[in-house]
Amino acid sequence: MLVQLEAVVRYTSLKVNKLSEDSIFVRDIFEATRDGKIRAYECTECNNQGVAVQAFCEKCGNNKLTNKEIGNVGKVITFTIQTVAPDPFVNEVPYAWVIVELDNNVRITGWIPFISSREDLKIGDKVKLVKSYKPGMVFEKIT
């Protein structure tokens, strides 16, 4: 689990309603990605979307944002193959770390286990977010 999410869930008894203050919080995003789902903010004025911790719309400055599930399939914008990893991915190397573009130009990041060389992945490849069976946001290549 995301350390920061763990800190919120385990160590506080705060009851913050989702959508309170019309903003999107860390836990709104990462509770969803754990289940292979993507939650984005959507501006109630201009319909701009993004996967981000957000209080004001980046495009128009509106402060009323909704929080909705969007499609979890997209294409790889760019990637790296990690051969030296940060904690707790040390035993997973090599693997791909990717930036993915979803529908409506919304972008998200994550990793793909078992992709071990640059020959195994191309910019433009289609990928899908899956349920977190490993740490972080886990993608899979789809055909």
Binding site: I29, V51, I81, Q82, N105, R107, I108, R118
Partner: protein, 385 residues
């Protein structure tokens, strides 16, 4: 705004130190104060740049430094903007003196990280980006720049050999710098054959984890006049900007928005064109970062910087020397000290004190300091008087 002078700047050697960040900042400050020819009591306030104090179980470094300088009453604050902490601290000092609030400010950047094992250091560095999205899903700090490198190669045909040429050039400069972390020359082949860290970036595309400190004294014209101090270097332009802290929140993977904004602000402030600068110290935490920096600053067209490095145009004897100090790559990257260390190099270049790496006829120098993947950027322009 009042005219502001860089009265002096000095640093420690970069590398592995058997001193704490606190000791290192004290040493650099003492050298800068001595070089300035002022009394330590003339310092009215300080900004301390330090990013990973927790690695030494010591936050709130300012009061400790001020006490060791014998001026515990002087106010100090730690400025943290990841790898841009130093440049940001210079900016704060500039603003405070230009506004007339203070006459003399000490900026001290310092870091001690070499005692951490590679895994811990790698993990700490990943905290500078958007950890929830990046480090938490397995991206190391080099991994983030590796995605920019792949995009740049994909869009502009930049090659791994061009990236390697940046490292080779910076090591040539660092070889001439007796304070550099690495004082040895390397070849293109050495870079290409070094271990892959995050494809396409290799170990020799990456800067080291260094310890070290640097300090600068920023002073008002009134103070310079009153004390009959020789005006050698002035701060001609100051620019600061932010950019999306997360990689996925930006549309362009081959450019740092914060560099473009901060540099345009600094150039406008200095009332000069980028072609007017004689040399620059830019933020080359990875070889790709130097290429992107030169293009975003406007020194070269997009996609042209790699070729320019191969042609030798950015070497000390080239038409626009970049990182004569050796840069982060060879001189080293003691995170909080880095942005202040760039100012030390500019001070020495503009006062003709750079010995074997002296850039000929250096009159205007630029510093470019980036935090993490571009969430922060500071650009300053200095001129010899």
């Amino acid at each position: 705004m009042n005219k502001v002078f860089l009265l002096s700047a000095a640093g420690t050697s970069y590398g592995k130190a058997n001193l704490t960040a606190r000791d290192l900042s004290m040493l650099a400050s003492k050298r800068a104060i001595k070089r300035a020819g002022i009394k330590v009591q003339d310092i009215q306030a300080a900004f301390v740049a330090n990013a990973f104090g927790m690695a030494e179980k010591q936050g709130h470094l300012g009061p400790l430094l001020m006490s060791s300088l014998g001026i515990p009453h002087a106010p100090s604050s730690t400025i943290e903007a990841a790898c841009c902490s130093g440049g940001s601290a210079i900016r704060e000092a500039y603003v405070n003196v230009a506004s007339g609030f203070y006459d003399v400010i000490l900026v001290a950047g310092t870091e001690k990280i070499s005692h951490l094992d590679t895994l811990t250091a790698t993990t700490y560095f990943s905290y500078g980006g958007d950890y929830c999205f990046e480090g938490n899903s397995g991206a190391s700090f080099p991994g983030l720049y590796a995605t920019m490198a792949r995009s740049h190669m994909h869009e502009y045909g930049t090659t791994e050999e061009e990236l390697a040429a940046v490292a080779v050039k910076n090591h040539e400069n660092g070889f001439l710098n007796d304070k550099a972390h690495f004082q040895k020359k390397i070849t293109i082949d050495d870079v290409l054959k070094s271990a892959v860290v995050a494809d396409p970036l290799k170990l020799y595309d990456s800067c080291p984890f260094s310890d070290g400190a640097a300090a600068a004294i920023i002073a008002s014209e009134e103070f310079m006049n009153k004390n009959n101090l020789q005006k050698r270097v002035s701060i001609k332009g100051s620019g600061r900007a932010g950019g999306p802290g997360s990689l996925h929140a930006r549309k362009n993977m081959t450019s740092l928005e914060s560099t473009i904004r901060a540099s345009r602000e600094a150039l406008k402030h200095a009332n000069i064109n980028i072609k007017d600068i004689d040399f620059a110290e830019v933020h080359d935490c990875f070889t790709i970062a130097e290429i992107i920096a030169m293009e975003d600053l406007g020194i070269f067209e997009k996609g042209e910087a790699g070729k320019a490095v191969v042609e030798g145009r950015t070497s000390i004897n080239g038409d626009i020397p970049i990182n004569p100090s050796g840069g982060l790559k060879s001189k080293g990257h003691p995170v909080g000290a880095t942005g202040v260390g760039q100012v030390v190099e500019v001070f020495e270049q503009l006062t003709g004190d750079s010995k074997k790496r002296q850039v000929e006829d250096a009159r205007i120098g630029l510093t470019h300091n980036v935090g993490a993947t571009g969430g922060s950027c500071a650009v300053h322009i200095f001129e010899s008087e």
